[in-house]
Symmetry: C2
Subunit: 269 residues, 2 copies
């Protein structure tokens, strides 16, 4: 096993192109995790930018990406004093697997919030959380991340969904890699879909995910709070807030996704 840094590394190949070798350690089932892919896209965007951090990333996932060679194409679109923007595409087997718009900037690591909303409540202390792994097919990803779930939000695992689209967990990498911009990319897409707590089961493909890096995270575990507002016509939204060990909001994401259908009896056969 290689560390998270090596697994997300990109090598410049000239003219805005970067090579990557996508790592099987971040598979969930047959597909590489979207957060892992966003980390790779973010590294390429920062490598092509004068700035240090991927402060805003919007992604469309087109196709499943698989372990092995891939290419990231970075097209710079605007370079300002404060921020730079680029269109960034992950290409595998000659086809776009994901398109992103990434804004890079250099966050002030000493900035204190001028205003901050309250940390969401509900994530119990670590010792009251459960290390229960997500269901079968998730073992690759679960080997890399140490997640401890709020048991109140994991009843769906035992067929007792809570009825509220919420999932909460503590998060860190097993390899000891400290939280940074790219770990945040992984964290915002690490929770099981919140609609599992509404009785949905199975794969919930992300249609669009946007995440913003709000601060450079302090060392330690991250607290993830996932929630949704509406499930309608098979579409749901999922917000994830990521708080660092000092209680600071370090990342926020929203994705629009397709809900798996709740199984009917005939489909369970």
């Amino acid at each position: 096993m290689i560390g998270f840094g090596a697994a997300t590394a990109v090598e410049p190949a000239g003219e805005g192109r970067y090579g990557a070798v996508l790592d099987a350690g971040y598979l969930i089932g047959d597909a590489l995790n979207g957060g892992y892919l966003m980390a790779v896209l973010g590294r390429a965007a920062v490598a092509a930018s004068p700035h240090a951090h991927p402060v805003s990333t919007a992604v469309n996932f087109h196709r499943v990406a698989v372990p092995g060679p891939a290419e990231v194409i970075v097209e710079p679109r605007k370079e300002g004093r404060t921020a730079a923007t680029a269109r960034v595409t992950l290409v595998q087997d000659g086809r776009p697997a994901a398109d992103a718009l990434i804004t890079t900037a250099t966050l002030d690591t000493t900035a204190e919030p001028a205003w901050s909303g309250a940390e969401p409540t509900g994530l119990p202390p670590l010792e009251e959380c459960t290390a229960a792994r997500p269901p079968s097919g998730s073992s690759g990803f679960a080997d890399q991340v140490d997640m401890r779930f709020d048991p109140a939000t994991m009843g769906w695992l035992d067929g007792r969904p809570s009825g509220r689209p919420e999932v909460r967990a503590w998060f860190r990498l097993r390899d000891g890699h400290p939280p940074d911009a790219y770990v945040l990319a992984l964290a915002v897409d690490a929770l099981p879909p919140v609609v599992l707590n509404l009785g949905a089961r199975g794969w919930a493909p992300t249609v669009e995910l946007t995440w913003h890096m709000r601060a450079v995270p302090a060392p330690g575990r991250l607290a993830l709070h996932g929630s949704g507002r509406v499930l309608t016509g098979g579409w749901f939204d999922e917000d994830v807030e990521v708080w660092d060990s000092t209680g600071r909001l370090v990342a926020q994401s929203r994705q629009l996704a397709r809900a798996p259908r709740a199984p009917r009896a005939a489909e369970r056969l």
Copy 2:
């Protein structure tokens, strides 16, 4: 004055290109409103798609767009059974003014939410709201939209910001155009920046804005609820939820923006 439909119309020009004539009615100061530009981008994306609605739109604004001719370039990237995605760019004077990722799909107009969170509280009945227009420079846009603001969130106009990053308002078009996907694009970027209630003043440039269309809106006024989570290092986030006259969440947006600095005494001279 022409109506909203004509002001956002696009004409196919072949090979994924669409012509538009951007309308001075949507100026805020010297810049066309970002929501108006998103409406134009959305019309081109839907024109190029087999689907009826722009369900997800992520935009980077690179340069101020001005009234007059512009071109929208649509690059289809993936066409699936349920949804299609495209990269969409607004070009003016030969340069990209905005880049977008737009997912189109056809929402089921009869779908009832399987789950919905509560409508945010705080927007008073219409008769208790104020038609007070935003400060100088906004008259173009304010001529098109009829907005009635919650007075509790407009103290910043008189130098008494509330101290909470919130703005709430009723919204409709003055020309009688009923709410639709493109009116929603306008609505999600229509509120004054929520950080004005934290003492900031002036222009707050949007770095990235993503909005999702969640339902086809019913006729009538829309209720807009804007709020933010963190202002730090000059960066702030703003969420806008849009609810229709039947109390249904029809759109949700988040933008990352740069906060104008609170003026110091010397800057007020």
